[in-house]
Amino acid sequence: MRIGFIPLLDMAALVAAEEQGFARREGIHLQLVKDVSWSNIRDRLAFRQFDVAHMLSPMPVASQLGLGSNPYSCFTPFALGRGGNSITLSLHLYREMQEVTGLDGSEDALANARALKAVIERRRQDGRKPLVFAMTYPFSSHNYEFRFWLAAGGIDPNSDVMMTVVPPPMTVDAMTARVIDGFCVNAPWNMIAVEKGVGRIVATKADIWPSAPEKVLGVSPEWAEKNPEILSRLIVALDAAARWCDDPDNHGSLAEMLGDPAYVGASPEMILRLLKGELTVDPNGRMRSMHSYLMFYGQAANFPWISQARWIYSQMIRWGQTDHTDAYLARVEAAYRPDIYRTALVGSAKVIPVADSKVEGVGSNSIVGSAAGDDLAAAMDAFIDGRAFDPNDIQGYVSGFGIRAK
């Protein structure tokens, strides 16, 4: 099987499936093919150069909605995990925020967003040009998370700043060259910016929405139709691989594996620190310890929740990428396939959620019913703005945002 990927730590389950023999045990050989852009991942899946691919969680949704320049409809039956994203601002900008608002460095993500708002106001008064912020793709968790965080701080991403795209491996250089003032990207790029002394991490994905899906396994419908049995075995292999990746005892080997130039090609020591959730957030050495900064398996992280596909859709509507219609809603649901996940893993000892949808971001430790009768306790699940998302009221949710595309 040919699998396309972009070199990022969130591809861990794919690498472990091949390197640790989980795929072989299922009689599959994975040929992992490195690529340079999400557009390529999309197109090479469409034109059969890949059978399945490492994808951004909004990509299957965008593809079903016909968004983007080659909207080839694909779907996901398996999420590759959560976390790993961070928002990094240039050190100059952060120091300016400290000067203006007196931040001492211990503030949370929301306080940082508000401090940024104050700086933006001041820059406007001084007639300075708008800040430029980068993410990796128009239909990416990074785009929606960066915008969500800005808006939570009272900043309108469409009018107060410039949002642009910079490919992940170029983010740190672009920041060093002062072409961009901030970016949102997955590991390891944020910490590389901090270690190079050019960036300050001000928010992580978990600060914005802990349960947010990050990368997913994107599958071509034609391939899946011809190979349902192989797809099923691949899900079993990935399930085992993801569990292996989450085990702290394996983090050392996983860091070595991902550090290989054939995969991510970053220093294993840094990868290990990221896997442990030990982030250096400021070049002055300030650390932040986060339990499960990268989560590959726990808390049903691999389950493709329909409610999460709907949340992604709500953000696409919020920022004017698409409209809200019932016909579109049906297509959004075709993008995430919990039914295939369940069929593949039924009968295993695994705890599988019994519902396809839930209210997202309920604000407390949410409990998810499972088929086995046990409850899956998820950790604290709240959005940074404190509002919960009812998947059955997308319209109401979107119109409740003070800042959105007009």
Binding site: V36, N40, S69, T164, V165
Partner: protein, 202 residues
């Protein structure tokens, strides 16, 4: 449709996003041959968006190994950067062509309303030029390898002549005979001789 005929009237303007100057030249040449004179080469990501909106091309050609493709995707989303809608040239009725394009490593973005056959000619040309460039690269590598092999064989011959008091012809014959006996390449045998000699010299 009326818009299509209108755009069909004026000469096509093509932008090539390409950092490799040799490949850019090959493409440029191909476009000129195809009668497209209005071509702009953008060779760096810096200010790519600004330059594209100034050039306002009908067709954008970019290699798929160029990470800037994702930057273009965003540009097409933000309508204020381009005056006309742009889509990747995907003609479902001609799956073979687009397949060939992806295999050759080229993608083309085309403004809405352009007549298909005009664009197809350009994309076909880009595909064949990308393939030609690939061939060129391979030939270059092959030539380099051949040169390197010849040097190794020369050195091995020299070593044999010196250590075993052979003439040049005898040294070469010995290498060839050994290669035939061991069913290996001449250059591999020569390499072994060179390596062995360097070990012994130390």
């Amino acid at each position: 449709m009326t818009k299509g005929t209108q755009t069909g009237q004026r000469p096509l303007r093509v932008a090539i996003i390409e950092e490799n100057s040799v490949r850019a030249a090959i493409l440029l040449d191909g476009l000129r041959e195809a009668g497209v004179a209005d071509v702009e080469v953008i060779d760096t990501m810096t200010h790519m968006l600004r330059r594209l909106s100034t050039v306002d091309p009908d067709v954008i050609i970019i290699g798929i190994e160029n990470p800037s493709r994702d930057v273009l995707e965003q540009m097409f989303q933000v309508s204020k950067l381009v005056s006309r809608p742009v889509a990747m040239f995907v003609d479902r009725s001609d799956h073979g062509m687009i397949q060939a394009a992806v295999e050759a490593g080229v993608s083309a973005y085309v403004v809405d309303g352009l007549r298909k056959e005009r664009v197809k000619a350009i994309v076909d040309m880009a595909v064949s030029r990308f393939n030609a460039f690939d061939r060129l690269q391979r030939e270059l590598v092959a030539t380099r390898n051949e040169l390197a092999s010849r040097k190794i064989i020369e050195r091995a011959k020299g070593i044999l002549m010196r250590t075993r008091q052979l003439s040049e012809e005898e040294a070469y014959a010995l290498l060839r005979q050994t290669a035939m006996n061991e069913k290996r390449k001449l250059v591999d045998i020569a390499q072994s001789v060179v390596t062995a000699a360097s070990l012994l010299e130390k």
